[in-house]
């Protein structure tokens, strides 16, 4: 039973410190994103077989994670925000995996 008042839930794991990201970090992120784009385009011209989409998606995911962590400050945010972001992608995966479970196991179709 907490007797004291904690208006902003400071002691709460849902609370995150406020953090100002510096332009230096942003610039690093910016450059790495541009490099990532260049690699994506380059990789598309090399025949990697089934790994082409894998590589493309891996780079895209990395870029997205960088943006989410730094441009969108999730790296410095509370657990709650991190959980929220994770929940979104989790539900997206549920949609994909459960629907694919149908398409992949259908006798009909082109798979």
């Amino acid at each position: 039973m907490s007797e004291y008042h904690d208006p902003a839930n400071i002691t709460n794991p849902e609370h995150g410190e406020h953090h100002i990201v510096t332009p230096k970090t942003y610039s690093l992120v910016f450059v790495s994103l541009l490099i990532g784009t260049a690699i994506t385009v380059g990789a598309a011209y090399i025949d990697l077989g089934i790994f082409n989409p894998v590589v493309a998606l891996a780079i895209a995911c990395t870029k997205a994670v960088i943006v989410i962590l730094f441009f969108m400050h999730v790296f410095f945010q509370s657990k709650l925000i991190k959980m929220t972001v994770a929940a979104g992608f989790f539900t997206f995966l549920v949609l994909i995996i459960m629907t694919l479970s149908d398409y992949m196991s259908r006798a009909w179709g082109l798979w």
Binding site: P7, L95, D102
Partner: protein, 557 residues
């Protein structure tokens, strides 16, 4: 009505009692002060009026449907009119009534108060969601006035995209917009529950109503956008002819089903979960006991929300999903039924060793328990793969979801409206008339929908305008029941309106309930609490309440 032995109703002395001078209703005057309000209570009331309006429109359609089905021949209306009737009934009842019913009205009104906050986190977004609701509603009404829409509420492709000449686009956009209204309501609730709880209001001290609305809000936020994009694709397919769902262009119409039910199955939990929350509050209050197994009930709400995302393809068992996938979805469907069973038994055992009184909300709650048990169990029929083949797309499924949605949710909604009516308006509804309405509704409901189970097993398909004559007796029974049900729904409308002016003054806590909302004046102040409340006891702590009342008596006396 003074407190007798058979009631816990505790009203102030009517001769001296008055409504509080200052409250949210008279805080500001004029229509504009309501239309531009940020007060969650006023928005809740706006929603209450709006959904009642749409409920009676949808109900009128239902009445016409039942009237047409009185005879086997297609005689009252033409086939396309009949199709429009059930489509509009479905669209209005699902998207404009059931989805916002408890969360947007009672939830809007009470969640901030229950957790000790002054308002929802985003009052302007709350108001926006009401406006979106109306814009969407007007789109739907426009589609109706211009000649209706006959897709059924499921918008099945390729029927909706290529084979109908009705106002599918208008209605689709309407539902799209209403979807955003529901998203914003859910979003507001989640943020409020996470961020605005009063000191001491830990997660496990929250009333179960808040828990169940929290679970429903998660579903609203994560599920509704999938419906939105699906409807966008349907609209694009109709207007410019893209080919995502069109089999002639290489699209897969089953993909539409997957995406549609990815929302629309969780949507049934959006509809029922808040109702379950109401039942928890009502049963606890009128048996003077903490809900049996609070934690289990709270977690079962979350479990339903979580599992709710894994079962949607049980709407498609006969539609050509792969057999293996059907197995998985059927198994998960069986699992999602368990939390509902847990809740039902927990409610039943809440009564044990209680001190039970039978006010109107409690009667509705009893009705809910019975009807929800039937509705839930018939859901197991439909979740069982082989059984589903015979039962799906018949009146069995119609009866099943009406038992859950009308027998469950509407009963819960009425229980909630009666339960919190004194808090919302400061006045009591007439007790004996409302009990009559509760009983009428229960009888009318069973008479309407029990025959439909038999019809369903006989094989009468849903959405049929005419039917073989041997089904007539059961249909006549059903229509007769619908008449009784209609009376049962008209009664509350009339006496609740009457009570706004002539009802008895309710006082702060007529039910002697423990929730924070009952510790403040009724109707509440615009800012709810004069000072930030501190929650220093568990939810449903009747001993704390008794102790508190005792203290008051000693200090005042």
């Amino acid at each position: 009505m003074s407190a007798t032995n058979s009631t816990i109703l505790n009203l102030p002395d009517q001769k001296t009692a008055t409504l509080p001078k200052r409250n949210y209703i008279n805080a500001e005057d004029g229509l504009l002060s309501w239309l531009f309000t940020g007060d969650h209570k006023r928005i809740g009331m706006l929603y209450l009026i709006s959904i009642t309006f749409f409920f009676f429109i949808g109900g009128a359609f239902a009445g016409l449907i039942r009237l047409e089905l009185l005879t086997p021949q297609p005689d009252l209306v033409a086939s396309d009119t009949y199709n429009k009737l059930f489509s509009m009934h479905g669209i209005i009842m699902v998207f404009l009534f059931l989805v916002p019913s408890v969360p947007a009205t009672i939830g809007n009104f009470l969640i901030p108060i229950m957790i000790g906050a002054k308002d929802l986190a985003f009052p302007k977004i709350n108001l926006l969601s009401w406006y979106l609701y109306w814009i969407g509603g007007l789109f739907t009404l426009t589609a109706m006035v211009l000649g209706g829409v006959d897709t059924g509420w499921t918008f099945t492709t390729p029927l909706s995209t290529h084979y109908l000449n009705t106002h599918v686009v208008t209605a689709g956009l309407g539902v799209f917009i209403i979807g955003f209204s529901s998203i914003f309501t859910g979003l507001n609730f989640i943020v409020t529950i996470h961020r605005m709880r009063a000191p001491g209001m830990t997660w496990f001290r929250m009333p179960l109503f808040v828990w169940s609305n929290y679970a429903a809000s998660i579903l609203m936020v994560l599920g509704t956008p999938v419906l939105a994009i699906t409807l966008v694709l349907v609209v694009l397919e109709r207007t410019i002819g893209i080919g995502v769902f069109d089999p002639t262009k290489g699209g897969d119409p089953l993909l539409f089903q997957h995406l549609f039910w990815f929302y629309s199955h969780p949507a049934v939990y959006i509809m029922i979960l808040p109702g379950m929350g109401v039942i928890s509050e009502v049963i606890s209050t009128f048996s003077r006991k903490r809900v049996f197994g609070y934690t289990a009930v709270a977690f079962s709400s979350v479990a339903i929300a979580l599992f709710g995302f894994f079962v949607w393809a049980h709407h498609m068992f006969i539609m050509g999903v792969s057999n293996y996938s059907a197995l998985v979805f059927s198994l998960l469907t069986m699992l999602v039924a368990v939390p509902s069973a847990i809740k039902t038994f927990n409610w039943a055992f809440t009564l044990q060793k209680g001190s039970i009184t039978f006010e109107t909300p409690m009667l509705y709650a009893f009705g809910f328990l019975g009807l929800f048990t039937i509705g839930g169990m018939t859901g197991v029929f439909l979740g069982a793969l082989g059984m589903d083949i015979h039962l799906t797309e018949t009146y069995f499924i119609v009866a099943h979801f009406h038992f859950v949605m009308v027998g469950g949710m509407l009963m819960a909604f009425l229980a909630g409206v009666h339960f919190w009516w004194p808090k919302m308006t400061g006045r009591m509804y007439p007790e004996s008339l409302s009990k009559l309405a509760a009983v009428t509704t229960f009888i009318g409901f069973n008479l309407t929908f029990l025959p439909q189970f038999i019809l369903g097993y006989l094989g009468m398909p849903r959405r049929y305008h005419s039917y073989p004559p041997e089904f007539q007796v059961l249909n006549v029974l059903s229509t007769a029941g619908a008449t009784v049900l209609g009376v049962g729904y008209m009664l509350p409308l009339l006496y609740l309106a009457w009570s706004l002016k002539y009802g008895e003054i309710a006082g702060n806590n007529p039910w002697q309930a423990t929730g924070l909302e009952w510790q403040i004046q009724s109707p509440p102040l615009t800012e709810n609490f004069i000072e930030v409340p501190i929650m220093d006891h568990e939810a449903y702590d009747y001993e704390w309440l008794a102790h508190k009342t005792e203290q008051e008596v000693t200090t005042v006396g």
